[in-house]
Symmetry: C2
Subunit: 344 residues, 2 copies
Amino acid sequence: MSGRGILRFPRDVRVSGRASAVGREEYRGPLGACFDFHDESDRFGASTWETAEEGLGGVVFNLALNRAGLGYDDVDLLFAGDLQNQCVASSDAYAPFGIPFFGLYGACSTFVEGILCAALALSGCPALARAAVVTTSHNGAAERQFRLPLEYGGQRTPTAQWTATAGGCVLLSAAEKDAQNGEKTDHGVRVSAGLPGRMVDAGITDAANMGAAMAPAAADTLARYFAETGENPADYDRIVTGDLGREGSAILADLLAVRHVSLGTRHRDCGAMLYDPARQDCHAGGSGCGCVAAVTSGALLPEMESGRFSRVLLLATGALMSPSSLLQGGHIVGVAPLVLLERA
Amino acid sequence: MSGRGILRFPRDVRVSGRASAVGREEYRGPLGACFDFHDESDRFGASTWETAEEGLGGVVFNLALNRAGLGYDDVDLLFAGDLQNQCVASSDAYAPFGIPFFGLYGACSTFVEGILCAALALSGCPALARAAVVTTSHNGAAERQFRLPLEYGGQRTPTAQWTATAGGCVLLSAAEKDAQNGEKTDHGVRVSAGLPGRMVDAGITDAANMGAAMAPAAADTLARYFAETGENPADYDRIVTGDLGREGSAILADLLAVRHVSLGTRHRDCGAMLYDPARQDCHAGGSGCGCVAAVTSGALLPEMESGRFSRVLLLATGALMSPSSLLQGGHIVGVAPLVLLERA
């Protein structure tokens, strides 16, 4: 096995806590009842959309700790990120907690990037016991930073995605593989393996079609994963992408078809699941750092804890670009890290 | 030892390659002859400052591989970051190389954050053999993004720092501790330990005084490090911060004095070293993701390889903020991860 391949961890890394929080549209969607917290004003106690995202981050992180009966001192490392310039929603939200901090930027892929980094860190240092991963996004902050202020009421194209006002946090704990995992809050879900994403540049320049930019990266990761394992999609209960949306999911299916891989009915996309297209005007579906984080924490992990799903591949997809890079002729580069979640 | 303390790595993580590249002002400075590459036009083959930074990143990464006799396939993981919105200089620079990628954002602390993440990852997964860490900054891109376009010719306050047009790359390789490190390009320098930074909010809001925002984080990290090890600054050949500048370095000395710690003549700051205040109008010194990266790769590591320094503490300091967070009343939060570099 080369170092370019699937990463497996010497320690037993398990989910030991989780929380999710969303705004108004997300609560109105099909998964609304799954989330631990919602704020129908989208304000989260703050007076701007940017600081509202900080409020959202604080809620979701504190809630994960509260539910696990843990305090700030129980978290050895915090991996966090968001979409705001300089990831400032994360630094402003989590600075007061005094936890050793790693800031990440992987656009909408940051949540799975964080799980992978946290699993590697916990495995890489026996003194580390517990890490937190938290990512957020806010529709009002992201839309005016990347596109136009909401007040402008601009028309959107059918391929456009709707940045979710959402956040999710998972706590991960590690024990030696030959020892019993001593966490009282063990959720019975293990991070068994991971595959970091390679950046894929498919030449996309349309910021209103992120799905097209991210699908080639998701196809690259899945093709590498199945080639190395010799497994196929039928070996998994769910293969979850977040957040290609409907447009990107269709492109992913096409790109995998030419490689003779079909995800079939096992595929779900967090962006496509978050809103109801019949009732909500969210075009190709949800996106944003918080989308996959909230759907994983609020909907996917509970299904694994209940025993309904035993083996799940979770990929987050990121569109790496900035408004000025596109104005200067740059492309939107995709990246899609993957983790394998299994019932312990 | 708690998980909050100093992190030590089960595998033997060593520097196996390095390269640095700078622009015109940095080449004219006291360290000019140390750097592997310079472009006096600051353009690096590109037509905008933002894309010039991508060119710079490509040069420094390729150069590190060239000098080590390695190719893209020899790098298992790439940890990279920069200061541009959405870290787009990194994604656009390194996407063509097809290397599994982790994007980081720690402002000017990203280089040491990356070394720490890479050391944890190499230790966390036996299949991983080699990781690269690369960070860049460009004066023209950063000044117009964070402050004003260069063409405006705005006055600067004495505490302001000058964003370096610079980049640095280190390659890190791991072997089991009981095996001989088989790297032909072993530079004889080991990453022995690390201490992640905690975010410290000292209430600073002046974007022209980053040193004041970062020094409290550096003091926090150093105080924790010396308290846990029971060592003192005299046990090290150099304690290198990057990049507090002259203002931040003076504040750090004051903050450590009240904790009865004196770094004395062992302290060097990459930002203060990069320019000559008598000849160059760079105010409190250099800053930017590329400053500590270029000075470490170009000047510090060669001094360790030659045997002049055997034990070095390297801290990078980051000022976490965005122009809009400051307009909305936010503070500049500091963070300062640390690594211990030792002659192997």
